[in-house]
Point group: C2
Chain length 336, copies 2
């Protein structure tokens, strides 16, 4: 990379102090017109570039907003980011994105990278169990907003969907269509959204007088393979279920593929409900019943909370908890 | 945002010049030990943070690498970015991502945003027809590397797949399985990769003595809807084709859905070949024949070219054109 011309180089060239150069470049009124002109002329001659970032370091504004997600190549997070951009771009903000692969260490280093890029805000779907990684963000008073995967931190805003209700709706739908032995592919129960979906599942069983069976709940990764192998585990139980509410569309798809291979009819003999409304759930020959989380809306709300916060001139920090309502979309993998 | 403590504040506090403060903080040997200690103590007391970015402004290194793609929520670009990260993270680089939606204006402003974040390099799949938007990158001598969607700029490296060969292979496969009336859903022919796929298609026809029919080539967006409506256009031709090579898996999927609705048997009466090996092409009940572009490999190669460039201490700039070989994956939407 080419060596940058700094104010020190200009100062040396003109035999004045760097502070004088800086003041001249920043139109400080204490600098004479003659000096200012000389500095500007020399700066231009030396190809000095007073870049926006250097200015940002002073003004504290870069017009870049950082977004951190577990993964970018999922329809859900892709759509949230689209929503964020649709809201922020017209306000002159650029969105820069980092992915964590759900790894705490990578999340911490992404936060560091964004802070060092002088972003004006960080919008994050966190996979971290340790909230101290946000300390530097809070200390620098860079607006921090959680979406989807959130942590409870005082005075920090968040936008989520009601995952408890989503889990409840999905399970209740299966019960209303005649299922009583309902299994659940849960995600990592240490992550709040997955825990809430599980609790919603459990509550729906309880409210309908159905016993909760621990063997029916299997922590399952969001992948086709995981769905395939875990549906086999369920079918091999002494008292197998005849429905599954999966916290992931991908795992639901794996289950469906395996059930079909075994010639088990869906939804006649086995019902499947997924989660997220991934596009493939719609365009399959057997479209999958699922939960729509309105990711575009989630992105827009998150961006709006950021804008409110950055434009807030009062000394009180705004804390907002926006909770969106999920929608159950009934398709052919479960009965109407 | 909290007002930053600057070297000017420290200078004022100590009644010395900002230049002296700066020199003290940067261990300049012209500064006495006593002054250095006083400055450091005061800076610490005032909560001054000499951040990495400010240092980056001087050293010209931020350890952030910017990646720009048309869209993040496609399996193809998601996988390329994964490859880039797998290669760069172990070298201490963070990857920050921007998406352009294929819009030239957004691409230009993303480049600006990344330059202002002092990235150490820009890896881009460009949608721009105007190469002057790269002028500032080249002038600043920030390493610039194209992948997939490339532009021919002197001394700029690129990593692509051989799209001509991909188009040729796909078309030749259809010919070898008995098709002669083969249509083509082309992408935007102003974009090099789509033009190359089209030229490969044309050459395969020529080499097999099959007439090229202009009506058989329809520019088609990468969407299910576009595939649906354009397959109908083809079927309504006086002399309809009985195969289509689609430059997009999504359009291929749309075509298949529409053909099935019309009870046209695949592959007996109509063959379909897609492009990109999107995951859904594999897990459908009728898996789609497609072209694998090895996006993970593409990402790794792109990252390697960047590392070579940034670690290049000689004055000659390295120009590399890496071209990967595509692979045809034959599945049930075409005959064996």
């Amino acid at each position: 990379m080419k060596k940058k011309v700094t104010i020190y180089d200009i100062a040396k060239e003109l035999n004045i102090t760097a502070a004088t150069v800086s003041r001249a470049l920043n139109n400080n009124p204490n600098i004479s017109q003659a000096t200012r002109e000389l500095v500007l002329k020399t700066a231009s001659k030396m190809n000095y570039e007073q870049n926006k970032l250097a200015l940002a370091l002073k003004s504290g504004k870069s017009n870049n907003v950082g977004v951190i997600v577990p993964r970018i190549d999922s329809n859900f997070f892709g759509s949230v980011i689209r929503g964020i951009e649709e809201e922020l771009n017209p306000h002159g903000y650029h969105v820069i994105i980092c992915q964590t692969d759900g790894l705490e260490e990578k999340e911490a280093s992404n936060i560091e990278a964004l802070l060092n890029s002088q972003v004006d805000g960080i919008l994050i779907s966190t996979s971290s169990s340790d909230i101290t990684i946000f300390d530097r963000v809070l200390k620098k008073e860079v607006p921090l907003i959680f979406f989807d995967r959130t942590k409870n931190i005082k005075k920090v805003s968040s936008v989520t969907i009601n995952d408890f209700e989503a889990g409840y709706k999905a399970t209740d739908h299966l019960i209303q269509t005649g299922c009583s032995k309902i299994a659940h592919f849960s995600g990592d129960l240490n992550i709040e959204i997955f825990k809430d979906r599980f609790l919603g599942y459990k509550q729906a069983l309880l409210d309908n007088g159905i016993d909760y069976i621990e063997d029916y709940v299997i922590p399952t990764k969001s992948s086709i393979e995981a769905g395939k192998s875990n549906i086999l585990k369920l079918l091999n139980l002494e008292n197998p279920p005849h429905a599954v509410f999966s916290s992931s569309d991908f795992a639901a798809l794996g289950a469906i593929k395996e059930l079909r291979k075994l010639n088990i009819r869906i939804p006649e003999n086995f019902s499947v409900v997924g989660f997220s409304n991934e596009p493939f759930t719609r365009f399959m020959e057997l479209p999958i019943t699922t939960i729509d989380q309105f990711p575009l809306e989630m992105g827009k709300h998150t961006a709006k909370v950021f804008l409110e916060q950055i434009n807030n001139n009062s000394k009180t920090r705004i804390e907002k908890k926006v909770v969106l309502d999920p929608e159950l979309i009934i398709r052919k993998s479960s009965k109407k």
